[in-house]
């Protein structure tokens, strides 16, 4: 066998992913109230690895090296200032006893299977009901995915300060509420798994929908979401149909990723995307997950959304897309999982199947459409409808409103192209 190059021993994002594992293992040992301490230990271990490996080469088993460095560092800290570490969890006994049992806990259980359990528990802790959704995904990125505050800020197109505050509040929540680092009891497992899936999907959508951050950051977020979901799919506790349906959905969405933005950074609409560049392997993988998701009697929103994405991914051209089937699926989605955004998407399908006038009535009929009025896509669709109806002035007003509601440069560019174009829509 050919000797691997030193550098090849480090797979992509090894540090980042090992950071997520180590933070999880150490949080099990220290308790969620000491998450910050776990993060500090991991940071030290990574710093040491980077400094030593830079000069001496990458060790044969980089992960084991990192774990050892983290263990040593954790035990150091415990010896030096066990008293300053405030433990609130159900630990009994004197400080020396606790210290000894903590040391034991840090020494043991660094094997892959147990690490996976710890990561799952970390997911449950991050997605606790008492934590706002945006804080959940921020914490997931920080702890499980090994992103820095700066990197999260860049991914979410917000300030580092905002991210620091979110992290601070969540850690405070852990401390104040004595959140257990554990798998939820059987009766709560389904509900809590749903919350985790919801966060994973949010994380994915941050990447999928953000047209402002750079390509690489967007892909990173999507990949991280998929890795976490895959982990859930591999764990007996969380391998439920919804998990596989979400995985399928993300595979289908991701398969079109490289064609959604032009090299110049402009948005490419579905009808203009180069379908030959869609990732057929991912589409096939999505199909496999779809098949896996088809057991039990639950049809989640992920099942339906995956079925819609499947129709798009497998249509040869935009024109030959099975719009009737897609409309049917959107109707199902709107009935079982009503939301203004689903209704908006349904209206797009209505326009394809029944024309702009029907789409306008569909939009009109959305019960809580006031909630959509601050959403640029709502106005952009209205603009599209008016434009097709030949009502150029109304269309311009809507496109202009949409322009004012989005912060994304590429969305703005797309919209301004529509505003200045005064001729009737022809497609």
């Amino acid at each position: 066998m050919e000797k691997r190059d030193n550098v090849d021993k480090l797979v992509d994002h090894l540090f980042r992913h090992e950071a997520g594992k180590m933070v999880s293992v150490l949080t099990r040992a220290f308790g969620t109230e000491n998450l910050e301490l776990a993060e500090d230990v991991v940071q030290d271990a990574l710093l040491q690895a980077a400094q030593v490996w830079a000069l001496r080469g990458v060790p044969d088993n980089p992960s084991a090296w990192l774990y050892q460095a983290a263990k040593n560092r954790a035990i150091d800290i415990l010896r030096r200032d066990a008293k300053s570490v405030r433990f609130t969890s159900s630990e009994e006994g004197s400080i020396p006893d606790r210290e000894a049992s903590l040391q034991e806990r840090i020494e043991e259980t660094w094997d892959e299977d147990l690490i996976k359990d710890d990561m799952l528990k970390m997911m449950f802790a991050c997605c606790h009901r008492g934590i706002p959704e945006e804080n959940q995904i921020t914490l997931i990125l920080k702890t499980l995915c090994g992103f820095s505050t700066k990197e999260i800020a860049r991914a979410f197109v917000t300030s580092e300060d905002t991210i620091s505050k979110r992290l601070y509040r969540t850690k405070q929540f852990f401390r104040q509420n004595d959140i257990r680092f554990d798998v939820p009891p059987a009766g709560k497992l389904k509900e809590r798994t749903d919350a985790v899936l919801n966060s994973i999907y949010l994380l994915f959508n941050e990447g999928y929908n953000s047209t402002d951050s750079e390509e690489l950051v967007r892909e990173d977020l999507m990949e991280e979401a998929m890795l976490l979901c895959k982990m859930l799919g591999e764990n007996p506790l969380t391998e439920i149909p919804e998990t596989f349906a979400l995985m399928a959905l993300m595979c289908f969405h991701f398969s079109r990723n490289s064609t959604r933005v032009s090299p110049a950074g402009d948005i490419v609409l579905l009808q203009y995307q180069d379908r030959s560049k869609w990732n057929s392997e991912l589409i096939a993988l999505g199909n496999e997950y779809m098949a896996k998701s088809a057991f039990g009697d639950s049809v989640s929103r992920y099942h339906i959304e995956a079925a819609i994405a499947f129709e798009h991914c497998t249509a040869k051209t935009y024109e030959t897309t099975k719009w009737e089937r897609i409309l049917e699926l959107y109707e199902w989605l709107c009935r079982d999982y009503p939301s203004p955004v689903h209704a908006l998407n349904r209206a797009v399908a209505v326009m394809r199947v029944r024309g702009p006038a029907a789409a306008l009535s569909a939009l009109d009929a959305i019960p809580d459409k006031t909630r959509l009025e601050a959403y640029y896509l709502y106005h952009s669709l209205l603009g599209e409808i008016y434009s097709r109806l030949g009502k150029t002035d109304e269309a311009d007003i809507e496109f202009t409103t949409a322009f004012g509601l989005t912060n994304s440069d590429s969305e703005k560019k797309l919209l301004s192209g529509k505003i200045t174009r005064k001729e009737h829509h022809s497609d």
């Binding site: 550098v7 540090f15 710093l47 690895a49 830079a54 000069l55 001496r56 080469g57 990458v58 820095s148």
Partner: protein, 114 residues
């Protein structure tokens, strides 16, 4: 072939302790890519990194200072020894050192043979 010691210095204010995991990995890989070939050819004696803890003892009064860590000063971060045909070759090699991207320096010194 002669031995040359490479002394790597960072500006005192350089701080990699807050790098992100991704940045750590990229930095370590840059160094490895730079050193790798020499290591394979047996022309590198792997070096050591120094921690930031240190003191300096100086002068006839044997004064002990807290180390050369004042702002703007350069601090030795690590060292290694390479084999090269000439000082020029060693310097050419040093020119590719990743520390230069971080505004650090490499001092190249021939090790005396006797």
């Amino acid at each position: 072939m002669k031995d040359y010691m490479l002394l790597f210095r960072f500006k005192a204010e350089f701080d990699d302790s807050e790098f992100s995991p991704e940045e750590f990995q990229k930095e370590a890989m840059k160094w490895q890519k730079w050193l790798e070939q020499r290591l394979k050819d047996g022309k590198l004696n792997p070096g050591q990194r120094l921690t930031k803890a240190g003191k300096v003892v100086s002068g006839t009064k044997k004064k002990v200072n807290d180390g050369p860590f004042a702002e703007g000063k350069e601090v030795i971060a690590s060292f290694c020894v390479i084999k090269a045909a000439s000082l020029d070759e060693a310097v050419e090699f040093a020119r590719e050192c990743p520390i230069l991207e971080r505004d650090g320096s490499v001092e190249v010194r021939e090790v005396m043979t006797y």
